[in-house]
Amino acid sequence: MGALIEGKGLTKSFGGLTALKGVDFHLDEGEIIGLIGPNGAGKTTLFNLVSGVFHPDSGKLYFNSKNITILKPFEICRLGIARTFQIVRPFLKMSCFENTLVGIIGRNDKNGGKEERKDEVRTLLKFVGLGNREQTLAKDLTLIEKKRLEMARALATKPKVLLLDEVLAGLNPSEILQALELIEVIRTQLKMTVFWIEHVMGAIMKASDRIIVLDQGEKIKEGKAEEIVSDLKVIEAYLGESDA
């Protein structure tokens, strides 16, 4: 059995700037994989390639051995890869209920009636802790609530893989613990594979099975948390960032 998602030699540049240089990576089913690296390392670009927002200049992407390199975002979502955004993008002028419903409507298997979909939305909103916010417009939510809403919308598409882009940024320690529990539940109960970008090092080290480190568009290291922490190259990449 091959990897769930596999990327081979992914390269992407914008104008004169190379954001990713020949990155290989894979995700196995049921894993929680962390993606770290200094600012501008190409983390979000990698997410954008996997979710179809951009297409790589060269390289290939596979999902369940199917070539998804040039599919559009909605096609990739329907295959089972959902995401959140680093700078949150809920549908601002729509209620939490409507935001989440969009995720269900976008799905291929819309079986069940309107009432069942409503129930599903309510369950999801409760799951991310927005049970009492159903009719609130997304623009009136706090940043943390918007992140949760994006999570609910992503989960509503019933993904096999969830890409989370800095969901912990701006949360306080107790909220981080809650969020980590949520991610663990997503893996164990909903049986999803989680691929996440995070700057909160302690959290991502603790909660990930495996970590990929990007620096200046290249993969410089991959392995378990303890291997990463002790790696010189990784430390240099981060020290280099604090110098700048």
């Binding site: 914008f14 104008g15 927002v53 951009f54 297409h55």
Partner: protein, 287 residues
């Protein structure tokens, strides 16, 4: 055969004027993602300005032309400051506003200038024998050379000067350009003015050959839009090649196929481009 060469020459002369007009649209689209639907009206206004300056106020035609272009430049700056600037980031409102503006200006032109075609005086008269093959009007030849001059000037401006570098920086990446210190509000304003001035330039060059009328403006806008789509949005080279192609096709088409349908050739090209090469001849294939 000589007849064919004559139509071809007409096509080339109109083609370079098309190119100037289209660059005016393309510049604004490339930098601000705004389509100026009032482009044709600015062109018409320039034609009327140069007519009234020279015919009614006695300004020498050679001075009336740059003066008219300068007025249109100022109108462009004013439009950007008052109406376009607040719409940045909201494509829908900029489309609506420039469309409404085109209707307003068209009706204003009808009221101010009347419905009749007007034609500024010719700068030169007579005709020249081209390579002993056919005679060609001196006014048209002069228009051609003025147009080439303007095109060279635009290329110099955009490829060589600081202003051109800022323009290219903003059109490629707004965020990056502001990081390196480009004031993109000012770049936007100046390029909108420049775009308008190019509409004006095309207008004053054409007016002595084809008199302007207020109702002719939508055809002029469309012409420029077709060239921009054909050449590829935001491509200067595309505008020149596209402008020439459209000028030649329209003139040969009108001569050998149908005069009534002169303007349809442009639309047919537009549809063909959308079907076969939607990003245009020289445009970047979008992500």
């Amino acid at each position: 055969m000589n007849e064919f060469l004559m139509y071809l020459t007409n096509g080339i002369v109109i083609g370079v004027i098309n190119a100037i007009s289209a660059i005016g649209v393309s510049l604004i689209v490339g930098i601000m993602r705004v389509v100026n639907f009032a482009h044709g009206e600015l062109y018409i206004f320039a034609g009327y300005f140069s007519y009234h300056l020279s015919a009614s106020l006695g300004v020498p035609p050679l001075l009336a032309m740059p003066l008219s272009i300068f007025f249109i430049f100022l109108i462009g700056i004013g439009m950007e400051r008052t109406l376009i600037r607040p719409t940045y980031g909201d494509e829908m409102y900029s489309l609506i506003i420039t469309f409404v503006l085109s209707i307003v200006l068209q009706n204003a032109a009808l009221l101010i200038f009347g419905p009749y075609p007007n034609k500024p005086p010719n700068l030169v008269s007579g005709a020249t024998n081209i390579f002993g093959l056919y005679h060609y009007g001196n006014q048209r030849l002069l228009s051609f050379f003025i147009s080439i001059g303007i095109l060279l000037f635009i290329f110099y401006l955009i490829k060589r000067t600081w202003f051109g570098k800022s323009i290219r920086a903003v059109s490629q990446d707004r965020e990056m350009s502001s990081l390196v210190g480009v004031d993109h509000l000012r770049v936007n304003m100046l390029s909108f003015g420049l775009g308008a001035a190019l509409a004006g330039a095309a207008g004053v060059i054409v007016a002595p050959i084809f008199p302007v009328t207020p109702t002719g403006s939508s055809a002029i806008s469309l012409n420029a839009f077709v060239v921009v789509v054909l050449g590829g949005m935001g491509s200067l080279k595309g505008c020149v090649i596209g402008g020439l192609a459209l000028g030649i096709i329209e003139n040969l088409g009108a001569a050998y196929l149908s005069t009534m349908y002169r303007n349809i050739f442009g639309f047919v090209i537009l549809i063909l481009v959308l079907v076969f090469r939607p990003w245009g001849l020289f445009g970047q294939k979008a992500q």
